[in-house]
């Protein structure tokens, strides 16, 4: 089996407006464009992903909300029409995707071993949420890479941010273990917006960019502060500030994808590449990349390699003891 690898992690937000603005054939509504700076950011992210040649994309979405545990898509082929319940005027998308069920099962099993409640979604009629689909479309519109879709358990909202994000940390570590065990070359996608204060009424023409702006100055300033820290690779500070950011900017990272991804990557103090930032109905969205492969941090110890390493150490110890006796 190949050695597992977490090639990279992307912050890959999911406003359906970006799909709407692009006018892909899968999406029924037609637009006059809009949100170009974010869509061009995704163009650069697509090129970066294309060069990575991953086996699988793992996406954690805040719009598949589960209350009993962390759920994983567990049906090999899923297809249908996903209509956004909030923006049905913008997003009515015919999707068809392939799930890496073996990796999904390994993630669920590793999560269980780590003490989480995990479930595999085996219903073939399941309609995949628009957050998962938007992020996947924006990062890889060819839909030619298998995916693992992960729900957002609502613990951060139901209990509190601290306990909720602690669960996401455990989920991330379990995801890493599963990627190592299955030998996949994986890319992680955190489907999260940053500041999440938003308009309460939609402009008459949704893509009228003369109406688009940050909903609050405080939210924008928080976004810039966090992005600047991420660009400098000061991730310890980012995670120290995260609870305050969540509280003061109503940040969507509360739902856990960002923490899940960084836990899986072992919280590297690594500079992120910012592909672009923009607002969508007032919320702050950044497309960013942490490239572990380029930093030499991507390769994982597979269990077999770890076992071999342990065996070698044991053999060396035995030889040493034997040699000692002989001498």
């Amino acid at each position: 089996m190949a050695r597992g690898e977490i090639i990279a992690g992307f912050l890959a937000p999911h406003p359906p407006h970006l799909v709407y603005g692009e006018n892909p054939p899968q999406n029924e509504p037609r637009s006059q464009g809009g949100w170009e700076q974010l869509r061009w950011a995704y163009e650069r992210a697509r090129a970066a992903l294309d060069a990575m040649k991953p086996d699988v994309l793992l996406v954690h979405s805040p719009h598949w909300i589960t209350s009993v545990g962390h759920h994983f898509l567990g049906v090999r082929q899923l297809s249908g029409k996903s209509v956004d319940p909030i923006f049905p005027n913008l997003f009515r998308y015919d999707f068809s995707l392939e799930v890496d069920v073996e990796l999904a099962e390994a993630c669920a099993e590793a999560g269980r071993r780590a003490g989480l409640v995990t479930k595999l979604m085996r219903n073939p009629n399941f309609r995949v949420d628009y957050g998962t689909i938007t992020t996947l479309h924006m990062i890889r519109p060819q839909w030619d890479i298998p995916v693992v879709g992960i729900s957002a358990n609502n613990t951060p909202y139901y209990l509190n941010t601290k306990e909720g994000l602690a669960e996401m940390d455990t989920l991330g570590k379990a995801t890493r273990e599963a990627i190592a065990a299955t030998g996949r070359r994986a890319v992680l996608l955190a489907s999260n917006t940053l500041s999440h204060w938003h308009f309460h009424e939609e402009p008459a023409i949704p893509e009228d960019m003369s109406k688009e702006h940050p909903q609050t100055m405080a939210g924008y300033q928080w976004d810039m502060r966090m992005i600047e820290l991420m660009r400098k690779g000061r991730m310890r500070e980012v995670f120290k500030l995260l609870p305050q950011f969540i509280d003061e900017a109503f940040a969507e990272v509360k739902s856990g994808a960002f923490t899940w991804m960084h836990a899986a990557m072992q919280y590297p103090e690594l500079s992120a590449e910012l592909f672009g930032y923009g607002t969508v109905i007032g919320t702050g969205n950044a497309v960013m990349l942490w490239n572990l492969r380029d930093a030499g941090l991507s390769m994982l110890d597979a269990p077999a390699l770890r076992a071999a390493s342990r065996d070698a150490a044991r053999d060396a110890q035995r030889e040493s003891i034997t040699a000692g006796r002989v001498s």
């Binding site: 598949w64 009993v68 909030i86 005027n89 009515r92 979604m121 309609r127 949420d129 309460h200 009424e201």
Partner: protein, 271 residues
Amino acid sequence: MPVVSAFLVPGNPLPKLKPEVLGLGRLAAATQRAGRALAASRPDAVLVYSTQWLAVLDQQWLTRRHSAGVHVDENWYEFGDLPYDIHVDATLANACVAASPGIGIHARGVDYDGFPIDSGTITAASLMEIGSEARPLVVGSNNLYHDAQITERLGAMAAACADEQGKRVAIVGVGGLSGALFRAEIDLRADRIASAEDDRWNQRVLRLIESADVGELRRVIPEFSAEARADMGFKHFHWILGALKGRFVGARVHAYGPLYGSGGAVIEFTL
């Protein structure tokens, strides 16, 4: 008076999906009984508010005349599918959209093929046998930024629109009581209300509804919401209250029981 009957029923789909489990079967059977009582009141349309239809922009109203398909709940998918076949009184629904600005609420109609009608609306429609051509629905969303008072105004406005069209309507609020769910998997046969305190709160609120003590209900619901995590601040009750102009003379609780730790009840209001 255009309102001919009113009901509060659970939106959790488990009673529909697993009626063979005794407690869930009781809730399902009670919801079906409520549906028969609703049919006997001979409404022209049914005004539904479901806590599970979440909106954040505008007040959404389902204006599509006919929607049919298979819905799968994002949490309870393992227990099967929820087929639906729902007819809407689009004339009345569009009147609600048009009238909403008059009470200070920005609104829009939802008329899209494949729109994900929520589990609560589908469960209630299926068990109560409403949403048929004979008993079409008008469904309003639960805007998360609307409070109890706004929801009450919406219920009143919808009933007034029906009155203007000379229609008899039944009112249905779809949602739960206490909202604490078990966080780990349980054997459904061993389901119970998550805590004794939640159970006490539910029983207290049910007694107040039975005795039609609207003043006391208005006083305790904020506390109920805070202490027992009442489903969406119990806004579905306020929808009913708004449509009834704040008045009913009593209520019959057809069933009360647990739904994975949360509370659910089937209530028929006496008008």
